[in-house]
């Protein structure tokens, strides 16, 4: 910025000011009063211009920081969760009155009662029906019962013994202990009653309720209860989408680039392909979703919500990116390489595949990673092909209904409760970590490549 201002004039001005003299009596075009005023104005303009530039950068960086801080600030608490440790007496009279130990019967038994009893064992003097229910509400109802049910189903011999289980508390308890439910708000507008707060504090004091690392978030699937919701099925779905998209987009993208750059004659047909690819890279992603819905689902009758269809749609979305990157990489390989190969008698195909492609590989890889990062973050086309289903099982094949991480984020973002926005933010943190790692790797690869050259 200061190259324009001549340092000499600056120091001269200073000297003049010190000695109290006016600068230069002799006036000319460049140092008349008017000219100096003009110069001052021009420099002020320059300064303002630079200020605008800095403000613009400041705005962009501040937005990024705001986004990251607000998401991390809401999300990081989801990585811990409060769990309650209970001694559950697996009474045979409740579970298996007939004493046959039939696993199917055991599965259908009343586990709610068991949990209720064990909760009442923790807090003395709860006799009122209403109070009993309030007490039971402290524990994650379906989480605790399903956990014990699974244990008993797998091992019917447990009946009659006492099982010590650690199960999640209900999300209200969790939010209260994390400080997101204000204890000062009047009871009527609070989700947790005064009585319950008393119990919770007592249980925390006794060490029955403890915060722990939230493994459920990583191993669980989508759920109606925030304390049981996890991202496992979404992550598996995303991985499936990614692999299908990669298997399709990589050969298409690279193949098209090689053809256009190396073998295509210059004619209308190749011009058309070229315009097409450049345009496809800029077509809104939701249009690809419409294509998938009309062609893959309605015309070919492929299943809704399947990662296979999603992967195909996203492959069409991603391959132009790969093509454009590959073409840039191919062009940056020195022509002397091809010429050398041709001059020792290699055919054109051999020169390209044996000599040019290996040298362009890092650039191709960079483009592919960036394309795959796009695939991983894409949501809109997946909504079109019905990947918004409530998926509670981890999918095992690409034809089963699955969710994807960004879609899961979208679905969870609909619920306004604090426990949900916490989990949405946590899922976003995971997604961003993966994406930043991928993009960072691509940038690192590109820098390394540029240095070598």
């Amino acid at each position: 910025m200061s190259q324009i201002e001549n340092p000499e004039t600056k120091s001269k001005k200073k000297k003049n000011r010190k000695s109290g003299k006016k600068p230069h009596k002799m006036t000319s075009l460049h140092n008349s009063e008017a000219a100096l005023l003009r110069l001052k104005k021009r420099r002020a303009k320059e300064g303002r211009f630079i200020l605008w530039g800095r403000l613009a950068i400041g705005f962009a960086v501040a937005s990024l920081m705001w986004l990251l801080f607000s998401l991390v600030g809401t999300g990081y608490t989801a990585f811990t969760q409060h769990f309650i440790t209970l001694d559950v007496k697996l009474e045979a009279s409740i579970l298996d009155p007939t004493d046959i130990r039939d696993p199917e019967k055991l599965r259908a038994a009343n586990y709610r009662r068991l949990i209720q009893t064990s909760m009442q064992a923790q807090i003395e003097g709860v006799t009122d029906r209403k109070e009993k229910r309030a007490l039971f509400n402290l524990v994650s109802a379906s989480g605790a019962t399903n956990y014990v049910r699974q244990k008993v189903y797998k091992n019917p011999n447990l009946v009659g013994q006492t099982l010590t289980v650690t199960v999640p508390t209900s999300d209200e308890v969790d939010q209260l202990l994390k400080g997101y439910i204000d204890r000062e708000t009047p009871e009527a507008r609070r989700k947790v009653s005064n009585q319950q707060i008393e119990w919770i504090d007592e249980l925390v004091d006794r060490g029955v309720i403890k915060p722990k690392f939230n493994t459920i978030f990583f191993t669980g699937t989508d759920s109606r209860d925030p304390e049981l919701a996890g991202i496992a099925s979404a992550v598996v779905g995303s991985l499936m989408l990614l692999s299908v998209a990669f298997i399709l987009a990589f050969p298409i993208g690279v193949g098209a680039a090689i053809y256009l750059d190396e073998f295509a004659p210059k004619n209308k047909w190749t011009d058309l392909i070229e315009i097409n690819i450049n345009n496809l890279a800029a077509v809104p992603s939701i249009v690809f979703g419409l294509l998938g819905l009309a062609v893959f689902l309605n015309f070919f009758g492929m299943p809704r919500s399947a990662p296979l269809v999603g992967g195909m749609v996203l492959a069409l979305r991603a391959f132009p990116t790969i093509t454009i990157a590959t073409r840039a990489a191919l062009r940056s390989v020195s022509p002397s390489i091809t010429n050398g190969a041709l001059s020792v008698g290699a055919s054109h195909v051999q020169a390209v595949f044996h000599h040019k492609l290996p040298l362009a590989a890092p650039g191709i890889l960079t483009g592919t990673i960036i394309g795959m990062a796009q695939v991983l973050g894409e949501t809109a086309p997946l909504l079109m092909i019905g990947m918004v289903a409530f998926v509670t099982e981890i999918p095992t094949s690409v034809m089963e209904p699955a969710s994807a991480l960004p879609v899961q984020i979208f679905l969870w973002s609909d619920s306004a409760e604090r426990a949900w926005s916490e989990r949405t933010s946590a899922a976003i943190i995971i997604l961003l970590l993966v994406l930043i790692t991928m993009n960072g790797f691509a940038i690192w690869l590109r820098n390394k490549l540029e240095k070598r050259r």
Binding site: E46, S285, V287, F288, G377, L432
Partner: protein, 415 residues
């Protein structure tokens, strides 16, 4: 499904094995010739032994794929049933006969390499034609469904009607409840949000590009550029959640401080966040354009005594203007087609309003709203989504083509 996977795996394995085995036999034959007769016969073989193997593998692969397509074509409904032992048997038979034929043709004068290379180039052509087929698929599917929509709803009503309430269309049996499909409020909402986004992203993105390319020191650039690239890499669903969770409530609270009431979902919050999302697009494209203006134009301007900002405004902008316009057009097309931010932050009510503090809806939001959830495929409600998609595609296509042509022409000017 699994049998399809099994079939494709089998095909791959068979062709690879055949390729290797063939490579081996061809090499064997050649060696025998080489040892048995004289050195000349080595030269007589046109192709290296590997190419005979490649040729076999390619032929098996292609014919296997054709058999696969034929199977799908014959029995499209029961994709799982057809790829049983019978089809795998057919595949093995074909593979064996191709192997036999290829084996017959291992002769010195057989140009295996030329054949393989032709096949390779053919495959490359097919791969690059997929781009054309994708565009064709998009156009045909959108056009086809839209025509069905315009059978039910007049074209003019769709383009010029000001009433949008597609929900009614579901209850066709109710009298007078046919739903109305005037898309003007949707177009207006899209335009409003695009304007807000461009008002933010245009100047800021451009100033970032100017500052980074003309003023910033290397160190500043080393920190700022990756930060901007991170902004570009954030998925739009994350921006959408940010708008919903943070920006919307902030704007609402600010407005309440001034005595207004603004809903959490409003055009302004969606537009502002979308503007932030578009900043990296504009800044990186403009950066390229500004950098490609030749240095001697700059030097000439400095030599005349112009300051950097004067050079920037009067010389470089003038030279880079077409490229910058191209960048802005691409950004506009991106803003119009952006989905997740508006779905999450702009609302769904079709308001015909120019007030950015109200909830508006956009083309993409309506497409999502019409197509998620249960749908009957023939109802105008579902088909309307395709008509909206067609409008979206045509507008972005025009913007993209103009922008890409400008940018390309511009690049040629200074090359």
């Amino acid at each position: 499904m699994n049998s399809i996977v099994a079939y494709i795996l089998m095909l791959l394995i068979i062709s690879v094995i055949a390729g290797f085995a063939f490579n081996f036999t061809a090499a064997q034959k050649r060696i025998t010739l080489y040892k048995g007769v004289d050195v000349k016969s080595e030269r007589v073989y046109h192709s290296q032994s590997g190419y005979h193997g490649y040729l076999t593998a390619w032929l098996i692969g292609i014919s296997g794929f054709l058999i696969f397509l034929g199977g799908l074509f014959l029995r499209p409904d029961t994709g799982g049933l057809i790829f049983n032992t019978v089809w795998i048997g057919v595949l093995i038979l074909t593979a064996a006969s191709i192997t036999y034929l290829c084996n017959q043709r291992i002769r010195p004068e057989f140009r295996a390499r030329t054949h393989v290379e032709r096949l390779v180039i053919g495959a490359l052509i097919v791969l690059s034609a997929i781009a054309v087929f994708t565009t064709l698929g998009i156009i045909l599917s959108l056009l086809f469904e839209s025509l069905r929509f315009f059978d039910k709803v007049p074209f003019t009503e769709f383009l010029f009607g000001t009433q949008w309430s597609p929900q009614m269309a579901l209850r066709a049996d109710q009298a007078g409840q046919s739903g109305s499909f005037g898309a003007v409020p949707i177009f207006a909402g899209t335009f409003l949000i695009m304007l807000i986004a461009m008002a933010i992203a245009g100047p800021i993105g451009l100033m970032i590009a100017v500052y980074l390319s003309e003023y910033a020191s290397k160190r500043v650039r080393a920190y700022v550029k990756p930060a901007i690239e991170i902004l570009a890499g954030i998925p739009t669903v994350v921006y959408g959640f940010f708008a919903l969770l943070t920006v919307g409530p902030t704007i609402r609270n600010l407005a309440e401080g001034f005595g207004f009431s603004v809903p959490t979902q409003s055009a302004i919050s969606a537009g502002v966040v979308m503007g932030v999302m578009i900043i990296p697009l504009i800044s990186s494209l403009s950066d390229d354009v500004i950098n490609s203006v030749p240095q001697n134009l700059r030097d000439g301007s400095y030599a005349l005594g112009a300051t950097k900002s004067e050079t920037m405004k009067k010389v470089i902008f003038a030279g880079a203007l077409p490229g910058i316009i191209g960048a802005f057009l691409l950004a506009i097309s991106r803003a119009i087609g952006e989905t997740m931010i508006v779905v999450m932050a702009a609302g769904r009510a079709a308001n015909l309003t120019g007030n950015p503090f109200e909830a508006v809806t956009t083309v993409t939001v309506q497409i999502v709203a019409l197509l998620t959830g249960d749908q009957e495929f023939d109802s105008p409600k579902t088909l309307a989504a395709f008509a909206l998609g067609l409008v979206l595609f045509v507008i972005t296509l025009i913007l993209n083509v103009i922008a890409l042509t400008i940018v390309r022409k511009y690049r040629e000017r200074y090359d």
